[in-house]
């Protein structure tokens, strides 16, 4: 049962039997895919917020949500409903168009990122579009978030939110640079920008995964750690939660937002947290692979492994959030430009040199990819300018 098949089944259920290559049918299928991803995002965020509250509560010697539903699991839902019912306040001095657009501009990238993330083995069809420029797509889409945040800060016509927006923008841009650099490390090792290729290029044992692999030892591990730090900064998690530093900026760029729009910011933030963990999993932690080859990781097992690893990373983020305090804005910038950027450069240079000296890993990866990508020819057809592939197989 692949994602495509699920979409098809849903389409059939709706009384629409799509032939394979009709444009309208493609559109309908894409819409169903989009809805599925949206559902996943909502569900994931609901679960994440509940887990987040419970674990942070545990760390902070309190109980977390308890009363709404059994063990408080409906608390997030109740909060969401409360936010939806709240009055939507737009400040009089605000720039209405930009003020209304900004939450959308922050949410859309957080949502669109999921298009290329495989939720498991793409051979099982657990991905919407396994783009051949996947990594670049991720980078470019997430760079759009800055505009939304800056717009939100500016449109609120509030000094604090303006400061928060500019701060956040500066922080996101600064950490995008080392992040882009360390994105290059797995790409170099796999010789492809496609996320599934990057996962396949990593070994069967967990010490052959990009984060822990011994043949590129210091560089890949450094890159992984750098990536994690950048991920914390990109998702505004605790040591770097300056944009919404409540003790200084009150709430940063979304101080004037209420109700539904605030909920969207919230959704985007947690959606980004899941997405960045998923990306880290694919790039550095072997994606959907089991840590040992004798453990099953095909079919829907891959889904399980993927979510297991993503949950571990999310837990790490929550743990950090519960333990650390906030650094100052200039310290954030210093860390980004003076520490992480050189480290990123060192990683890329080191891995690049090693790859060029020892071509074996890339070659092996390529062979492996070649073996795996022997998929049905019907899916490999090149439909004109749309030279990307549907679910699997190389174009």
């Amino acid at each position: 049962m692949t994602l495509t098949e699920i979409s098809r089944a849903i389409a059939r259920f709706l009384g629409f039997d799509p032939p394979t290559d009709q444009a309208a049918a493609q559109v309908i299928l894409a819409l169903i895919d989009a809805l599925l991803i949206f559902g996943f995002l909502m569900l994931g965020v609901l679960v994440l917020i509940y887990v987040f509250r419970k674990i942070v509560g545990f760390i902070q010697a309190r109980l977390g949500p308890r009363y709404t539903g059994p063990r408080g699991i409906l608390q997030t839902l109740a909060d969401a409903l409360k936010l939806l019912r709240k009055e939507d306040i737009i400040p009089r001095a605000a720039d209405r168009i930009a003020f209304n657009l900004a939450p959308l501009m922050v949410f859309l990238p957080a949502y669109l990122v999921y298009i290329v993330i495989p939720f498991g083995d793409p051979e099982t069809g657990l991905v919407v579009r396994d783009l051949n420029v996947g990594v670049l797509y991720l980078l470019s889409i997430s760079s759009v978030t800055v505009i939304g945040i800056v717009t939100a800060g500016w449109a609120s016509a509030n000094k604090w939110s303006l400061l928060g927006g500019m701060r956040s923008g500066a922080q996101l841009i600064s950490y995008e640079v080392p992040m882009t650099l360390v994105f290059a490390v797995p790409v170099l090792l796999a010789g492809s920008l496609r996320l599934s290729d990057i996962v396949r290029a990593q070994g069967e044992f967990f010490w052959q995964w990009n984060a822990f692999r011994l043949d590129f030892f210091p560089f890949t591990l450094l890159a992984f750690i750098t990536f994690l730090i950048c991920a914390l900064a990109e998702t505004n998690q605790t040591p770097f939660d300056l944009p919404e530093a409540e003790s200084e900026l009150v709430a940063g760029f979304h101080v004037e937002y209420s109700g539904f729009k605030f909920a969207i910011f919230f959704l985007a933030e947690f959606g980004n947290t899941i997405a960045i963990s998923a990306i880290a999993t694919h790039l550095f932690l072997g994606g959907w692979k089991a840590p040992f080859p004798f453990l099953p990781d095909s079919g829907f097992w891959s889904l399980g492994w993927f979510f297991f690893k993503v949950s571990l990373l999310v837990l790490l983020i929550i743990w950090i959030r519960g333990t650390l305090l906030r650094v100052r804005i200039d310290q954030v910038m210093e860390l980004g430009w003076k520490v992480l950027l050189p480290i990123g450069l060192i990683c890329v240079t080191g891995v690049g040199l090693l790859v060029s000296i020892r071509p074996s890993p890339t070659e092996q990866a390529k062979q492996k990819v070649a073996v795996v990508s022997e998929c049905p020819v019907s899916l490999q057809k090149d439909d004109g300018p749309f030279r990307w592939c549907r679910t699997h197989g190389r174009t």
């Binding site: 942070v56 760390i59 902070q60 010697a61 309190r62 000094k159 604090w160 400061l163 605790t238 040591p239 939660d241 300056l242 530093a245 409540e246 003790s247 200084e248 900026l249 009150v250 519960g322 333990t323 650390l324 305090l325 906030r326 650094v327 100052r328 804005i329 200039d330 310290q331």
Partner: protein
């Protein structure tokens, strides 16, 4: 940090000047990290602070005037509301002033109980400081830990006086009740419990690398400045001056107690935080000595857990009328020198009562040290003064 010169108006570059635009923002009174309703009018140049001007009075309840309208015993409950984080100390300084007007001698057991309670209050107050200061610099978790510890102290207070925040426990001539039986054991157990907790707190907050990065070198007060601004308490001891009223001008039975005055030479926010964290340990030391001493004193004789209050209460008329006089007494509250100047005119109400609030005086140094820092540092500095707005505005 930038030089002062750079922060003001425009910067000369050769012939031209580069305009830097300052913007005035109002931090507070509705701001989460101004500890209540402090308003700081900030002139900022980007993130840099050019001028910080505290604007007070949002919580003013005119206690000094209210004190003149009530009889001496009635005035005690007002004191709970000055500095509601360490209400016992306010009780104490008020009672001390009235006792000095009346020339009263407080029973010895009452003195020791007062010291014991007051030191526990100091621990509780510093715990609140550590927790909220952690919040100020962005650490959420220490806040909960500190309040969990403070809660245990408040439980013990509740046992002796029934209240958790506004105790009204110290009375003119003593304390309202003797401590119940077995209470001292609980305090001792609490001391044993607190020591590892304080170490944990130091690991989590005070010695945290990020915390060090946020506080070392921030808001430096040189010793001369500390003296000239009349700072007291941890604010001045953080600048390396061992000024502690318990040592400098011992009141009550502090001259019989062994403890060290904690000082640190850094003069920055971290030094002051460290001083407070060490002071909690000193307070525990004092509490232990008080327990030793109190164990040797007579227990209440009746089975009533609170016992008769005669040996913790001197004979005081219900409406004391001290002779016309004026006194100034001061004690070392968790925030510094808390003083009361009281004038009596022979009636049953004070003629004039003036409160010298330590947080108010300590806050006065803010405009001097804030410029040149960033907005985030201002939060760290304001939080470090450990203000309680109820006492600053009174």
């Amino acid at each position: 940090m930038m030089d002062r010169e750079k922060l003001v108006g425009s910067v000369g570059v050769g012939e031209q000047t580069i305009r830097t635009e300052t913007m005035e923002v109002s931090m507070g009174p509705q701001h989460p990290s101004t500890h209540g309703v402090l308003r700081v009018v900030l002139k900022v140049d980007g993130e840099w602070i050019v001028e910080a001007d505290p604007d007070l009075g949002y919580l003013h309840r005119s206690f000094e005037k209210l004190g003149e309208l009530r009889t001496y015993p009635q005035g005690i409950f007002l004191t709970d509301r000055w500095d509601y984080v360490s209400a016992m100390n306010n009780n104490w300084v008020y009672c001390l002033a009235v006792e000095k007007l009346l020339g009263l001698q407080v029973p010895e057991k009452a003195e020791w109980i007062r010291v014991l309670i007051s030191e526990m209050q100091r621990i509780a107050s510093h715990l609140v400081f550590m927790g909220t200061y952690g919040l100020d610099v962005g650490a959420l978790t220490p806040f909960f830990y500190c309040f969990r510890e403070r809660e245990k102290i408040l439980d013990l207070f509740e046992e002796i006086c029934g209240a958790r925040l506004t105790y009204n426990f110290y009375r003119i001539g003593g304390v309202s009740r003797d401590v119940p039986r077995g209470w001292l054991d609980k305090v001792e157990a609490l001391c044993d419990y607190l020591i590892p907790r304080l170490d944990e707190l130091d690991d989590l907050l005070t010695n945290n690398k990020v915390f060090l990065a946020r506080t070392v070198g921030i808001g430096v007060i040189p010793p001369e400045m500390a003296i000239s601004y009349g700072l007291s308490g941890p604010m001045i001891r953080g600048s390396g001056i061992p000024y502690d009223l318990r040592k400098v001008a011992p009141y009550s039975v502090y001259d019989q107690i062994e403890f060290d005055v904690v000082t640190h030479d850094g003069g920055d926010c971290w030094s002051r935080t460290w001083v407070r964290s060490q002071e909690m340990r000193q307070s525990i030391r004092i509490v232990r000595q008080c327990i030793e001493k109190l164990r040797q004193m007579p227990e209440p004789t009746f089975d009533d857990p609170y016992g008769p209050s005669t040996h913790v209460m001197a004979k005081v008329p219900p409406k004391p009328k001290p002779k016309p006089n004026d006194v100034y007494v001061a004690i070392e509250s968790p925030r510094g020198e808390l003083g009361v100047y009281m004038v009596s005119d022979g009636s049953e109400k004070p003629y004039r009562m003036k409160i010298r609030g330590p947080a108010f005086v300590n806050l006065s140094v803010l405009p001097a040290i804030a410029p040149g820092h960033k907005v985030a540092d201002l939060v760290a500095i304001v939080g470090n003064v450990d203000i309680v707005m109820g006492e600053v505005d009174r």
